[in-house]
C-alpha cells in the first residue's frame, strides 16, 4: 500500500462521492421543513412527503402506469417514424451528390424553423387525436438524426475509403463496412438529441387537448391546483429522459466498443 500513496485511500474516495449528494438532500430537507412550517403554500409547491405519497397512490391505483403507457406509445411511434425518416434522408443525401442536391437544401431550410411553431397547423391538419402528437414527436426527432448522420457520413476519413477500395471492397461493401460504421459515433450523438427533442415534443403535444398521457395528468392537475400531481408528472418525465439516455449509452457501449475509452473499461 505504501507504494500507492499517490492515489486516494478507498475510504476518502467514498466520502467524496457521497459529498455530491449532500446539497440536493439539504435542499429537499429545507423544502420539507418550509412546507411543514406553513412557509411554502401547497398551491405553489407541494411538500416532498405529499409528492411521494401522491406518487405512490397514483402508482398503486394503476392510473400512473396507464398514462405512462399512453405517453410511451406516442413517443415510440413518433420516434420510429422520425428517426427512420431522418436516417433515410441522411443516407440519400450523404451517399450521393444527386441525393444531396435533392434533399439537403430543403432539410437545412426546414430545420431552422422552430418545429413547435407548427402546432396550430398540425391541429388544423390532423385534428386533436393521436396523429398531431405523434407527428410532432416524429418531426422533432427527424432533424437531429438527419444532421448528425449526414455530417458523419461526409466526415468519414477519405483515406480509409480509398484503402478499402484498394483492398477490393465493392461499392456496397464500402458503405456497409466503412462508411456507416465510420458515421455511427456521430449518428448516436444525433440519436441522443432526437430522444431529447422527442420528449419535448411529447410534453407540448400532450398539453393540447389530450385525454390521456402524462401531459394530460399534469394539465388536469393544474385545473385542480394539485401541485403534487404536477410534480409527479415532472419526475416521470425526468425518469423517462434518464432512461432514454441510459439506453443510448448501452447502445454506444456495444456498438462503439472499438473506441479506446470503452476498450479500457
Amino acid at each position: 500500500m505504501a507504494t500507492l500513496s499517490l492515489t486516494q485511500p478507498a475510504g476518502g474516495f467514498r466520502i467524496e462521492r457521497f459529498r455530491r449528494f449532500v446539497p440536493p438532500l439539504v435542499i429537499v430537507l429545507l423544502w420539507q421543513a418550509g412546507s411543514s412550517a406553513g412557509l411554502i403554500p401547497p398551491r405553489s409547491i407541494a411538500s416532498p412527503v405529499t409528492i411521494i405519497v401522491t406518487f405512490w397512490t397514483l402508482l398503486a391505483s394503476g392510473e400512473l402506469l396507464q398514462h405512462l403507457l399512453v405517453s410511451l406509445g406516442r413517443v415510440t411511434a413518433g420516434l420510429a417514424i422520425g428517426v427512420s425518416t431522418g436516417a433515410t434522408l441522411a443516407l440519400v443525401a450523404g451517399l450521393s451528390r444527386r441525393g444531396e442536391d435533392l434533399v439537403d437544401a430543403t432539410m437545412q431550410m426546414l430545420r431552422t424553423l422552430p418545429f413547435l411553431a407548427l402546432v396550430p397547423l398540425f391541429i388544423l391538419w390532423f385534428g386533436i387525436g393521436e396523429t398531431p402528437k405523434i407527428a410532432l414527436v416524429a418531426l422533432g426527432s427527424a432533424f437531429p438524426i438527419y444532421l448528425t448522420l449526414f455530417a458523419g457520413i461526409r466526415g468519414v476519413d477519405a483515406k480509409l475509403v480509398e484503402a478499402a477500395s484498394v483492398f477490393g471492397l465493392s461499392q456496397r461493401e464500402l458503405v456497409r463496412q466503412v462508411i456507416l460504421p465510420g458515421a455511427l459515433p456521430s449518428a448516436l450523438v444525433g440519436l441522443r438529441y432526437s430522444l431529447g427533442s422527442a420528449w419535448l415534443s411529447l410534453v407540448i403535444g400532450e398539453q393540447i387537448n389530450a385525454s390521456s398521457g402524462i401531459g394530460y395528468l399534469v394539465m388536469t392537475a393544474r385545473d385542480f391546483l394539485r401541485t403534487d400531481i404536477i410534480f409527479v408528472g415532472l419526475i416521470v418525465y425526468a425518469l423517462l429522459g434518464l432512461g432514454a439516455d441510459q439506453l443510448v449509452r448501452a447502445i454506444e457501449r456495444s456498438m462503439l466498443r472499438w473506441r479506446p475509452s470503452f476498450v479500457k473499461e
Binding site: L160, A163, A164, Q177, L256, W258, P260
Partner: protein
C-alpha cells in the same frame, strides 16, 4: 490510355531475364501546372526489389498511386498485374474492425480468417489477432498493414514510405521484416522512400525520380545483410545523395552541429568539427 491489368507475355522476353511485371511508357501527369511526370518510362522485373527515391514533390507518390490504380494515367501506357497491393504511409486500419478482420478485408472465401491469422503470424502479431486497431502501437499497426498486403499474395507490392512515421528502432525492425518477407514470397516491390539508407538496405535496384523522369537507375549488388559502413554501401550512398542534390558533407555535419542557415562556417572552425571528436 486506360490502365490495363494484363501480364506481359513471358515468351517474348529474353530467356536470361525475368519477365517484367510493370511496364510504363511515356507516362505524363500534371496537376494543372508543369508536368509532375513527364514521359516517364519504367520496367520492373518479376520479383525485383526496387526503391524509388526523389525529393518531396518529385512525383514519386504520384507514380506509386498510378501503379496502384488510385490515380488515372491520362497519357502513356501502364501495364501492371492485377494482383497488386499497397502499404500506405499511415496504416489506414478500420478502427471498428478487429486486427484479423482488417487483414481479411475484402478477401473472398470462407477461409479468410485462417489466411489472415497465418499472415499475422508471419509478421509476428499472432498474439494481437482480436485486438482493436486503436489499441495497437505504431509498430504493431504497421505490421498489421503489412500482413493485410501480404495475405493478398501480390505479384506487385507497392510501399509508400511505410515506415516514415515510426521511431528509429521500430523502423529498423520493420525494414528487416520487409526484407525477409520479400525473400520468402518474392513479389516485385516498389518502395517509395526519401531515406537513402533504407533504399540501399533493402533494394536490388535504386531509382531517383527527377524532373518527371527516372534520372538515376542503378543496380545494388551488395551482399545481404548489408552494413552501413561497407565501402560499397558508402560509395552508392554518396552517389545517390549527389543525385538528390544533397552534398554529403553538408548532410553529415547538419545533425552534429546545427547552425543557422545561410551562414557558411569556415573550414577548421571548431563548430564544423563533428561533436565528440
Amino acid at each position: 490510355m486506360p490502365l490495363s491489368a494484363a501480364r506481359p507475355l513471358a515468351g517474348l522476353e529474353p530467356a536470361a531475364t525475368r519477365p517484367d511485371v510493370v511496364r510504363i511508357r511515356g507516362l505524363t501527369r500534371s496537376f494543372g501546372g508543369p508536368n509532375i511526370l513527364d514521359g516517364l518510362d519504367l520496367d520492373i522485373a518479376d520479383g525485383a526489389f526496387v526503391a524509388l527515391l526523389g525529393r518531396s514533390g518529385s512525383g514519386k507518390s504520384t507514380l506509386l498511386r498510378t501503379l496502384a490504380g488510385l490515380d488515372p494515367a491520362p497519357a502513356g501506357t501502364v501495364t501492371v498485374p492485377s494482383e497488386r497491393t499497397v502499404v500506405f504511409q499511415e496504416p489506414r486500419l478500420l478502427p471498428w474492425k478487429s486486427v484479423w478482420r482488417n487483414v481479411a478485408l475484402g478477401l473472398p472465401g470462407s477461409n479468410a480468417r485462417d489466411r489472415a491469422v497465418a499472415a499475422l503470424q508471419e509478421v509476428g502479431l499472432s498474439h494481437r489477432i482480436d485486438a482493436w486497431p486503436l489499441t495497437l502501437s505504431g509498430g504493431e499497426a504497421s505490421r498489421t498493414a503489412l500482413a493485410r498486403a501480404l495475405v493478398r499474395e501480390p505479384r506487385l507490392l507497392l510501399l509508400d514510405e511505410p515506415f516514415a512515421a515510426l521511431d528509429a528502432l521500430t523502423r529498423m525492425k520493420m525494414q528487416g521484416l520487409v526484407g525477409s518477407l520479400w525473400q520468402a514470397h518474392r513479389p516485385a516491390v516498389l518502395l517509395v522512400t526519401h531515406d537513402v539508407d533504407e533504399a540501399l538496405q533493402l533494394a536490388d535496384r535504386v531509382l531517383v525520380l527527377a524532373e518527371g523522369r527516372i534520372a538515376t537507375d542503378i543496380p545494388v549488388t551488395l551482399d545481404r545483410p548489408r552494413r552501413h559502413g561497407d565501402p560499397g554501401f558508402v560509395r552508392l550512398r554518396a552517389r545517390l545523395l549527389a543525385d538528390l542534390g544533397v552534398d554529403e558533407g553538408e548532410g553529415e555535419a547538419a545533425p552534429a552541429a546545427p547552425r543557422p542557415a545561410g551562414r557558411p562556417v569556415p573550414a577548421g572552425h571548431p563548430v564544423a568539427a563533428p561533436a565528440g571528436a
